[in-house]
Amino acid sequence: MLEKRLINGNEALGYGALYADCRCYFGYPITPQNEVVEFFARELPKVGGVFVQTESEVSSINMLYGAAATGVRAMTSSSSTGFSLMQEGISTLAASELPCVIADVQRGGPGGGNTQTSQMDYMQVTRGGGNGGYHNIVLSPASVQETFELVQLAFCLADKYRHPVIILTDAIIGQMQEGLELHRLDFGPLPDKKSWALTTVGDHDDPGRFIQNAPGILGSYRDYMIRITKKYQEMTEKEVRYQAGHTEDADLIVVSFGSSARSSLWAYHQARKEGLRVGFIRPITLWPFPTQIIRAAAQHTKKFVVVEDNLGQMLRDVQAAVQDKAEVHLVGIAHRHLVTSSGMIFPKTVLQEVKRLI
């Protein structure tokens, strides 16, 4: 029988990691993701896991690097400003091809911004964020249940590609309470880590392994770049995920991710009830981006509305996908119901804009 809980998205991150057999977490407190740190501090010792409260996000990501080098499933989490502090480390994890999971529960930016919600880290996570032009798969849940499931998927994809995977949520997804069905997802067999994990010379037969974070210092840099580019191509071909409705039969399509997609989904359903030919696309992977479904839809749909709680970031990816074949409008932070940091893009606002633009 499935176990059911009423919990928030931050704790769902924790449960997802436990159900994925993650046994190492390194984290530093920052609002609005403190429940994640507290969850692991409480739960990991019960299952023989490792929890370390670090002295900084810089330290969190570097402990994660050490743990991932030994082949165990490990993760960290933070929120926007703290996530920014991790960028050098995330670039290093990508360069070293170490599987791990990093969650960013977004708060307002830029800088310290505010402690409440926003979706302003889209560009940072989808373009890499650190130096060197790497890519990480970015998973964007829109509910507590989906957070729980995508964390499990994240560990699978990390192991599959030997690469860091980012979970991008925000203060709304992280703080809201929803019903959660706890169940373990099975993704089938994954590559064995024994061929590369650092477990001491006494444990494996190699004369001394090393994890190299600077691929250009030893070995062939060009071959490395070619190989890593092929990996990114493979991710782009195989790992695109999205939710879509009525994309074949729409005069206007709403494109939205994460918490904004919850407002957008209601507006889409309501518009359809009212007989409006409105479609809906919710990218679940923000990188790789579902370019093809949007490009295909732009052959017959001439208007797109991007709903995101920022100044227009995913907007650029949608514009690139439609290739000037359709208009692309933004419902962004200017559409929040309050001028203070407590403002949100309400479902009725999205519906109003859809009706105005269609």
Binding site: L64, G66, T70, L198, T199, G202, D203
Partner: protein, 257 residues
């Protein structure tokens, strides 16, 4: 290493067991090759090669990754103690984890990392290579640069009014409760070499016995950035560095209360 493949020749001396056999990447007269050797010898004497994982930082010391035949992780600049924590803890405390860090890596960009690792009570060992300057990047000032020492960023000599004072890391870390062992050695003579090896043995032993953090600072010569021939660089360490940074043990406890 060591090995000999000639039937009529007997091996009289050779490299340590845990030496990879690869040439070092250091400039003539650099002490870092000797630092690598003394670490290898300590690892051999303790018989821990098969249980050890090293963490190298950014700087010339990082090239020891190719010299010491244990598993190794290249850490980001200054982050060795954090990476070592991740390795040690994720493996249930089993492996013997050591970091090798230079004076820029540990005393400048990574000072917070080592202090907090000791503060958390980690059971790790750190070998701190102090050559009083930045070698890899061409001879700039480090936190350990001596007063009046000329570097490319203190072209008229380190003036304390502008560039501050040398940091005595071994003494400073000895003050932390989580430190079980802290010492400073040099490699300028056979006597100093042997003493440094003894310090390293003890610093590893504190980790192996689960007592606390083990730390050894090793004074080293960088002839290239001192613009001195190797013999003069060695004399410079003896005359000036040891005068500023006294050799010896600053902490050695059997248990931390």
């Amino acid at each position: 290493m060591p090995q000999i493949d000639h039937p009529e020749r007997e091996l009289l001396c050779g490299g340590p067991e845990s030496y990879t056999g690869l040439p070092t990447m250091y400039c003539p007269g650099c002490h870092y090759g000797t630092v690598a050797r003394v670490i290898c010898e300590a690892i051999d004497e303790l018989g821990i090669k098969k249980q050890a994982i090293g963490v190298a930082g950014v700087g010339c010391h990082g090239f020891m990754i190719g010299t010491i035949a244990t598993d190794f992780v290249f850490a980001l600049h200054g982050r060795g103690p954090g990476v070592a924590t991740g390795i040690k803890r994720s493996q249930g405390g089993k492996p013997i984890v050591f970091t090798i860090q230079g004076d820029g890596d540990l005393a400048a960009i990574g000072m917070g990392d080592i202090i907090n690792a000791i503060g958390r009570g980690e059971k790790l060992t750190t070998i701190f290579c102090n050559n009083a300057g930045y070698g890899t990047t061409g001879g700039q000032m480090a936190p350990t640069t001596l007063l009046e020492q000329v570097t490319t960023t203190t072209p008229t000599g380190r003036d304390p009014q502008v560039a501050g004072y040398p940091i005595h890391v071994a003494e400073m870390l000895a003050m932390l409760r989580g430190t079980a062992y802290s010492a400073r050695g040099a490699l300028t003579s056979r006597k100093n070499y042997n003493q440094t090896k003894k310090f390293l043995n003890l610093a590893f032993q504190k980790q192996m016995d689960g007592i606390g953090y083990g730390f050894v600072e090793i004074l080293s010569a960088c002839p290239s950035t001192l613009h001195m021939p190797p013999n003069k660089a060695l004399k410079w360490v003896e005359e000036y560095m040891i005068a500023e940074y006294p050799l010896g043990e600053f902490k050695n406890v059997k248990e931390i209360l």
